[in-house]
Symmetry: C2
Subunit: 390 residues, 2 copies
C-alpha cells in the first residue's frame, strides 16, 4: 500500500503533551510488513535512525542508543550505566519528573541531592552553582521540559555553568517533552546525555527509548569498576549492537521494535531532510507556542508557569482553570468538539489546571490541518459554554 | 481506513522463529491514529488485552503485566522482583537463552546454578529432581522453546516435578518462542510465571514485554524485604498500573506503546474469539510442525533436535545443512525465492544449521496463504540448485 493510498481513520484531535498526532506516512511505516531484525533491508534503516538522531541533537560525535521502551527507561540507562552505587547525583527538580528520576537513581544505589523549585518554576543558575561548589557530583540532571508543569529549563545556561564550575560532572538532559520541539545543541552546549521517547516532538507512536551519550559520558561508563546494575538497560549489551547496526552488520541482544524503527525512520527523514529545516522547525514551535500563550492570556487565563512566554516550553502550555471552573466543566466540552487535551499531572495541583500539547504535525502542518485554530476556538467556546466570561 | 481497504505491501515471506508474518488487521491496528494512553477509548483496550492473555495462558487467577520492551526485559522482571540478592536460582539450560537468563539473574545479585543440556536437548526430569533435592531454590526457570535450537521443554512434567519436590520454588517458563504456538496450561500445570514477547506466536510486531504471574509469584514478590532492584521493571510500579487499566480507570508510570496495544488487541481477539479455537490453534501448529519435520527428514536432512517430532518445538524447526553445504549456499537461494529463514544462533554450532519459523498466520491461514507449500518447495528447489541430492 502506498503513502498516497493510506489515510488514518478519523479521530479526535490529540493535543496533549504526548502522545501527539502522527502523520499518515509515519503510521503507514508503523504498519510495515514483518521484517527480520537482522535482515539486510532492515539494518540500514536502523543505522539511518542512529545517524539522523545525531542531526536532530547537533551531536555528530555522540552515540545514540535506541531500544524498545519509553522515556522512563532512559532514566534506568543513566542510573545503571553512568553512576555507580554510592556516587553522588544532583537532580534539578522542576516538577513530577524530577521526583521520579531521583527515585530511579536511588533504586540503583546513587546518593541523590535535589534542588526543588516551586511549582511552575525551575532551580536558578545561582542555586545550581552554589550546590556544585559544595559537592562534587558524578551526574547532574535536569528536565528540559517538565511535562507536568510546562516549565522550560535553560539547557544552554546549565551546560555553560557545569562546564565552568564542575567540568567532570556528566550533565543529563531529560528531553522526553523537548527533543524535536526545542532547540538542543547537545555538543556545543556541553550536554552529555539526552534521553527521550518517540511520542512527542519526534512525531511517532510511543514504544521507543531514545538516548544519545557524549564521548565524556561513554568514557565515564567505560571507567566503571563494577558492571552496570541493569540487564535490559546495560550499555555493555547495547553499545556493540548500536555500533553493529550503524556499521551495517546488525547484532542481537534483544529484538528491536522493528515497526517503530520504520516509523521513526519516516519521521526523522521528514525532520532532517524535509521542509522546514530543523532550525525553522524550532522557530515554528516558538511561534505556535506564543500564539497559544497569547490567546490564553487574552482570555484572562493564567498559566502554571508565571511568565509562560519567557520560561515556558514551546511544545506545551499548562493552563489554570479560571476561578470557579474545574476539569469536568471544561474537558468534556472540548471532547464534544473532538479535542483531547490533558488533565493536570503535578500531584499538588493536578485539579487546578489542564495541559495543551502543540508539537509536531499540529504545528508544522498547521496551514493545511488547522489544528491550532480548531484548538483555540474550541477552548474559547467551551469556556463560554461553562459560563466563563473573560 | 477500514480493514477491507488495508493491504500490507508485498514483501518476502518471513518464516524465521520470530518476528513472524503479521495479519493485515493487526498491522492496521498498529497504524491506529494517536491516542492518549489514559483516554476512555484506550483504557478498555488495554484492559481487554490483560483479560485475553489470561485466556491464552489458561490462567484465570494470574496477573498479566504488559510494558514496552521485549522478551529480554521479562527476565529483568523476574530477576528484579521475585528474587532477592543472594538467593538461589536454578536455570535449566537448553541453549542460548538459558545462558542469557543466567547472566540476567547474576546482574541482579542472584546465585545461579545451571543444568546445561547438550546442544539440541534439554535437562532430564531426573537431573532436575536430583538438583532440587540437593538445594532449595527460590526460582527455577526453563526455556519452553529454545529459539536457538528448537528444543521443546516438558512444561507440564516440570510443573508436576516442582510441585512434588520443591513446592515453594517459583517455576518460570520463558515462553518467548512458545506462547500462542504451544499449549501452556499455566495454572493447571503449576507454572508461576510465563514471560514472552509479541512478535512470535502472538502474531504482532515486536515491542511489548508480556508476562503473567501466579498468586504464588505475586506473594513471593510481596514478601520481599528489600525493594525491587530495577526501576523500569519494578512490579511496585507496574502492578497498580495493570490493576487500574483492568478496572477501567487507567494510571501512569511509563507511557505504554499504545499502537502495539491496539495491535495486540486485534491479534488476541482473533486467537481467543476467532476460528479456530485456542485448542485447535495448538493442534494446527503441531500438524504444520509435523509436516515440516517430515518433509525435512524426507529430504534426508537432520534436525538439531535429534527426534524433532518428539522433542522439538511446534512453531519452529532447526535444520542442519547437509554435508558440504553452508549458509551461503542455501539462504541466498531462498531469498531469491522471496523466502526469509534464519541463520543459526547457538554460538557453538551457528554455521552448521538454519532455522524455520512456522507460527501464527503462516500456520493458521495456510489454506489461503499457501506459505508452508511455498516454503517447503523452495527449500527443496534451493537444495537442488546447490547441488544437493537427497
Amino acid at each position: 500500500m502506498s503513502t498516497q493510498e493510506f489515510k488514518q481513520a478519523p479521530h479526535k484531535l490529540l493535543v496533549i503533551p504526548g502522545p501527539i498526532e502522527v502523520a499518515d506516512d509515519v503510521l503507514l511505516a508503523n504498519a510495515h510488513p514483518a521484517m527480520s531484525h537482522v535482515s539486510p533491508e532492515f539494518i540500514p534503516v536502523f543505522g539511518d535512525c542512529i545517524r539522523m538522531l545525531r542531526e536532530v541533537l547537533f551531536a555528530p560525535n555522540s552515540q545514540p542508543v535506541l531500544t524498545a521502551g519509553s522515556g522512563t527507561l532512559g532514566w534506568d540507562h543513566v542510573a545503571a550505566n553512568v553512576v555507580q552505587p554510592g556516587e553522588d547525583v544532583l537532580v534539578l527538580n522542576s516538577g513530577y519528573f524530577g521526583d521520579s528520576f531521583a527515585d530511579c537513581f536511588e533504586t540503583y544505589g546513587a546518593k541523590v541531592d535535589q534542588i526543588k523549585a516551586p511549582i511552575g518554576s525551575k532551580p536558578s543558575l545561582s542555586e545550581v552553582e552554589e550546590a556544585l561548589n559544595k559537592k562534587k557530583y558524578k551526574v547532574v540532571t535536569f528536565t528540559h521540559v517538565d511535562t507536568s508543569t510546562g516549565v522550560l529549563s535553560d539547557a544552554k545556561g546549565l551546560g555553560e555553568l557545569v562546564k565552568r564550575v564542575s567540568p567532570e560532572s556528566i550533565l543529563v538532559l531529560d528531553g522526553v517533552c523537548s527533543v524535536g520541539s526545542e532547540e538542543i545543541r547537545m555538543e556545543e552546549w556541553g550536554i552529555d546525555i539526552v534521553l527521550t521517547a518517540t511520542q512527542k516532538g519526534l512525531g511517532c507512536p510511543p514504544g521507543l527509548m531514545v538516548l544519545a551519550a557524549s564521548k565524556k559520558a561513554i568514557a565515564a561508563f567505560e571507567k566503571r569498576t563494577v558492571p552496570p546494575n541493569s540487564y535490559f538497560a546495560s550499555w555493555s549489551r547495547w553499545l556493540p549492537v548500536m555500533k553493529a547496526y550503524e556499521a551495517g552488520t546488525g547484532a542481537y541482544f534483544a529484538t528491536p521494535p522493528t515497526n517503530l524503527i520504520y516509523a521513526l525512520h519516516a519521521s526523522l527523514t521528514t525532520i532532517t531532510k524535509g521542509s522546514p529545516s530543523i532550525e525553522d522547525r524550532f522557530k515554528q514551535h516558538v511561534a505556535a507556542s506564543d500564539r497559544v500563550k497569547d490567546f490564553i492570556e487574552g482570555l484572562g487565563l493564567k498559566q502554571l508557569v508565571a511568565d509562560g512566554k519567557k520560561d515556558g516550553a514551546h511544545g506545551m502550555t499548562a493552563v489554570r482553570y479560571p476561578q470557579g471552573l474545574k476539569a469536568t466543566d471544561l474537558l468534556p466540552k472540548l471532547v464534544a468538539k473532538n479535542i483531547v487535551v490533558a488533565a493536570g499531572l503535578h500531584k499538588q495541583v493536578k485539579d487546578e489546571y489542564f495541559r495543551i500539547g502543540h508539537m509536531g504535525v499540529t504545528v508544522i502542518n498547521d496551514k493545511e490541518r488547522g489544528d491550532i485554530d480548531h484548538l483555540l476556538t474550541s477552548i474559547k467556546e467551551s469556556l463560554a459554554e461553562a459560563g466563563y466570561k473573560p
